[in-house]
Each structure stands twice: as C-alpha cells, then as structure tokens.
Symmetry: C2
Subunit: 147 residues, 2 copies
C-alpha cells in the first residue's frame, strides 16, 4: 500500500473523506424509505419547528431557496407535508400524519446509522466531537442566499 501520510495532517481532506463515507451510509439506510438525506433533514427541521417557512428552513439548513423549492414540492406531492399560506408570499410548513410517520421511520434509521458510523466513540466523546465540528462552521458568515 502506497504511503498516505501526505494527507494525514490535512484536516480538510480527512473531513471530506469521512463525510463521503458517512453520507453514503446514510443514503443507503434511507433508500428503503425513498428518502434522500436532504429530504430527511427537512422532515427533522419541520417536525421540530412546525409552521416555519421555506426561507427560514433554507437558512436553518444552509439550503438555498432555489434548491429548496423542488425538495418541498417533492415532499408535498408525497403528502408528507402541507403548505398553508401565511402571507400571500410565505407558506407555513407542517407535517401531515403520513409525514409524521415517515419522520419517525427516518429518525429511527438515522439513529441506527449514527450508531453504525460512530459507535466506536463513547457518548461523551461523540457530543464533544459534534460540538467541536459545529464550532468550526457555525461561526462563519452563513450567507446562504444573498444572491
């Protein structure tokens, strides 16, 4: 096996490789629900913040309006969410009963996935690492949609 140590100290490289492995695992786990990772994150965010708008959701998840539109349309066409006009231009998002059931299944799948990918870390270690990673991006400008 060739020497890899060039990338050993490159944090950006390690983060990218890990992200690929982890997201592939999650995508596989969600596939039986016909859900993609981005769609699952939308379900989680709506469940926890019922009534928020598409724009708020996008800012929360770092997804641009232009990319949020088809995501939401897809979930609505599956009757997982509803849109209630609140403003004439804004629409409040809610989970339907089917949406809640789907959310519950996605949550279970996601927790099993976390266990599969990070089970080698103790609970305290996991939380510490999550916070450490969070600080490295959450402090950023976070524009997301100023175009």
């Amino acid at each position: 096996m060739p020497a890899m140590h060039i990338f050993d100290g490159l944090l950006g490289y390690q983060i990218r490789r890990l992200s690929l492995v982890v997201m592939a695992d999650l995508a596989d786990a969600l596939a039986p629900l016909s859900l993609r990772p981005a769609e699952a994150s939308v379900l989680f965010a709506i469940e926890a913040n019922s009534g928020l708008t598409q724009s708020e959701l996008g800012r929360m998840l770092g997804i641009k309006r232009a990319n949020m539109a088809p995501l939401i349309a897809g979930l609505e066409s599956r009757a997982a969410i509803t849109r209630d006009a609140v403003d004439g231009r804004s629409q409040a998002l809610h989970l339907t009963e089917e949406g809640k059931a789907l959310h519950a299944r996605a949550l279970a799948v996601t927790q099993a996935h976390e266990e599969r990918c990070f089970g080698s870390l103790a609970n305290g270690e996991r939380l510490r690492l999550a916070r450490e990673l969070n600080q490295l991006w959450a402090c950023r400008g976070e524009s997301v949609d100023e175009g």
Copy 2:
C-alpha cells in the same frame, strides 16, 4: 433564529455541514490555478508517489477508475503529468516540470486554506482531530472498485 438543537448531537450532520464549508473555501482558493479539489489531491498523491498507476491512485484516494480517467486526461492535456506505459495496460504517472510548479502552488494555497479554516485550533489539537476523523473512515472496508 429557530431552534437548531435537533442536529446538535448528530455527528453525521455536523460533519456534512463542515465539509461543505471547508470544500467551498478550498474550491475558491484553487480556482485561480484552474484546479479543482479532486485534481489537487491527485497532484499531491503523484508528487509523493511518483510512478504509481491510475488504479493505485484511485484506491489511495477513494476515486473509482471510471472517474479517475477524465481527471488524469485533463491533467495530461495541461501537460502537468505524463503517462509511461509500464505494462501494456498500466501506466506510470509522473509530474512534469509544469506539474511540479503547479503542485507547489496548489500546496501553498492548500496550506493557507487550512490555516483559514482551522486556525482557531492549536497545532496539537489539529493533528489530534485529523487522526480522530481518519480513524472513523480509514478502518472501513474501503472497496472503492470491486464492480
């Protein structure tokens, strides 16, 4: 700002968000060299392992043969690398003089990028984190190309 704490403990989510921010920074930094992150990683790997083949390179970087082909073709058409037949089917990869110069510039850009993204961590912390992340994916099966 809506409550985000749903994702606070989800390591997969934190890794993905961080990866996006970090890779966007690297892509911007490499753009003036007309290099994409994947191409830069190829330059780094060839520089450190001169003479390796495309397949070896792919296994090292987790890039499939099918996706490696156009990457290598692009770098060769820019005269950054050469291919010397070694086998009739395998080809040894080397950096040209232009390729070495490009590698040097890419390395400087990447180091500045690491400093920009992870400068808030002490050197020891950075290495510890890099090793922690590495362990979470490097232990995996690592098939990459058994199809």
